[in-house]
């Protein structure tokens, strides 16, 4: 299955955001759920092996878009590799909050998840990605994720992550025995690096921050990422994060 969905904002009268374009392409179905909020609604299982899905996001200068999903994305095996390509452009003074539910890599899947994020100066972005390595009690499928954020023509963050290579999956250098791996990229600049159980707040060399977290389950992962996001945005988070116990293999 090939599908290309798109969402775009424009600046309306009085400085309001108007969701001007909302192009669904099953299984990528988009629903506007608020003045500047859009949710991805799955209308078919998958992606399945062989699917090529693309989502284009354009946030016009000085507008706001919040993009979420109503449920987790379950990536399933099929004929060959599946691919999800998200291309987002965020204009000057615009705000994009991208916080979908986790991507679950079912056993046997072969997935590629590509994000290309282009930021104009003064763009505000919070971009969260969560991977769950297999459903409950299941070994993980394979996934290759790549994230490239370009700001003002210069690379701000480039990250790849590979799941499903048995030789690397259990390495204490990569993610140990954690079953959930996630990051949040923010254009907000954390005052200083912070580290707590299974989560680190990493100020980038350029204007931005990466929150990187590992956890045993999706709930733990989310709370760790949210702690990192709060710490980045609010500055010092004086309440130390306790988490839900140590990450296996990474105490």
């Amino acid at each position: 299955m090939r599908a290309r969905a798109a969402v775009a904002t424009v600046l309306g009268p009085g400085g309001r955001t108007v969701v001007q374009r909302l192009a669904s392409a099953p299984p990528l179905t988009l629903r506007q759920t608020g003045p500047y909020t859009v949710h991805l609604v799955s209308t078919a299982a998958g992606p399945l092996g062989g699917d090529r899905l693309a989502l284009d996001v354009a946030v016009a200068p000085r507008t706001t878009l919040e993009l979420g999903s109503v449920a987790s994305t379950l990536v399933l095996p099929g004929e060959g590799e599946s691919e999800m390509l998200i291309t987002a452009r965020v204009g000057t003074g615009a705000t994009l909050r991208f916080t979908p539910e986790p991507t679950v890599l079912a056993a046997g899947c072969e997935h590629r998840l590509l994000v290309r994020l282009t930021l104009e100066p003064g763009a505000n972005v919070l971009w969260r990605e969560e991977l769950v390595l297999g459903r409950h009690g299941e070994t993980t499928g394979r996934c290759h994720a790549r994230f490239d954020a370009i700001r003002d023509g210069l690379p701000l963050l480039r990250q790849e992550f590979t799941v499903g290579d048995p030789a690397l999956d259990t390495s204490p250098a990569v993610h140990g025995s954690a079953r959930c791996v996630g990051t949040t990229f923010l254009t907000a600049v954390a005052k200083e690096p912070r580290v707590a159980d299974g989560v680190a707040v990493l100020p980038l060399a350029g204007p931005g921050t990466l929150v990187s977290a590992l956890a045993a389950d999706a709930v733990g992962l989310r709370s760790r990422l949210e702690w990192g996001e709060r710490t980045t945005i609010n500055g010092d988070d004086s309440v130390a994060f306790g988490g839900d116990g140590p990450v296996p293999g990474l105490q």
């Binding site: 790549r146 490239d148 954020a149 210069l154 690379p155 701000l156 963050l157 480039r158 990250q159 790849e160 992550f161 590979t162 290579d165 030789a167 690397l168 259990t170 390495s171 204490p172 250098a173 990569v174 993610h175 140990g176 791996v181 990051t183 690096p193 912070r194 580290v195 299974g198 989560v199 680190a200 990493l202 100020p203 980038l204 060399a205 350029g206 990466l210 990187s212 977290a213 590992l214 293999g249 990474l250 105490q251």
Partner: protein, 236 residues
């Protein structure tokens, strides 16, 4: 193989590398690495993530140094774009502690390389970037010493595991022969990482955007935890 590669990869190269564990000290402190099998898993993961990235960037730096010093038949040597390559390393190194360790090792290696293999390309790098990231310093030093980008990538990949392996021997009192045996079993991985690095790096100069960017979340966490540790024996 160019003999200079032996000097560049020798742990006795006096460029400060002996005091870096690349996250191993914290991995040991956390209990994640405690014997030869867990060290093997750690090193393999490190090699295929941080090692693959640094090998590609080192090959890119070596190829770039060559392109700026050797005039192609049809043209003149180009002006080095060290700042652009530096930004590519920064973008692939989310952890501030790892960026700091990389620049510290790069600065010390550049200092040594300028005395051991004096060359305009190293002087030019030092003038433009006194604190270069380690792969940029290593790739440029390899070129100054006469090595190829492939050899530079191999040196970088080996550097990504040899220092951490030695740190584990010192910290855990592991049998050094067992650990060297482990390094020997990683030879096919070194070959594969080197080949991948060169495929990506050599023919794209200076189109570095697509170079590998493999992240290792656990290494990021370990690096930041190490930076705030009360007690530490290694710089990184």
């Amino acid at each position: 193989m160019h003999p200079a590669l032996l000097l560049l990869t020798d742990s006795r190269l006096p460029a400060g590398g002996h005091a870096h564990s690349g996250g191993t000290e914290q991995a040991i402190a956390s209990g994640a690495v405690h014997d030869v099998p867990t060290l093997a898993a750690f090193l393999k993961g490190r090699l295929h993530t941080a090692g693959a990235v640094t090998a590609a960037l080192t090959a890119a730096a070596c190829a770039h140094a060559a392109s700026t010093t050797t005039a192609p038949i049809t043209g003149t040597p180009g002006t080095p774009l060290w700042g652009r390559l530096d930004a590519e390393v920064d973008a692939r190194t989310a952890s501030p502690a790892q960026r700091h360790a990389s620049r510290t090792q790069g600065r010390l290696l550049l200092r040594v390389a300028r005395r051991v293999w004096p060359s305009p390309v190293l002087d030019g790098l030092a003038a433009e970037s006194p604190n270069p990231h380690h792969p940029i310093a290593l790739g440029t030093a390899a070129h100054a010493a006469g090595a190829t980008p492939e050899e530079a990538a191999m040196a970088a990949a080996y550097h990504a595991i040899s220092g951490p392996a030695t740190a584990a021997v010192r910290l855990l009192g592991l049998d050094p022969v067992a650990v060297h045996g482990l390094l020997a079993t990683l030879a096919p991985d070194l070959t594969a990482v080197t080949a991948g690095a060169c495929r990506a790096a050599v023919h794209q100069d200076p189109g570095w955007a697509a170079l590998p960017a493999c992240s290792a979340p656990a290494l990021d966490l370990l690096a930041e935890r190490h930076a705030t540790a009360e007690v530490r024996l290694f710089v990184s």
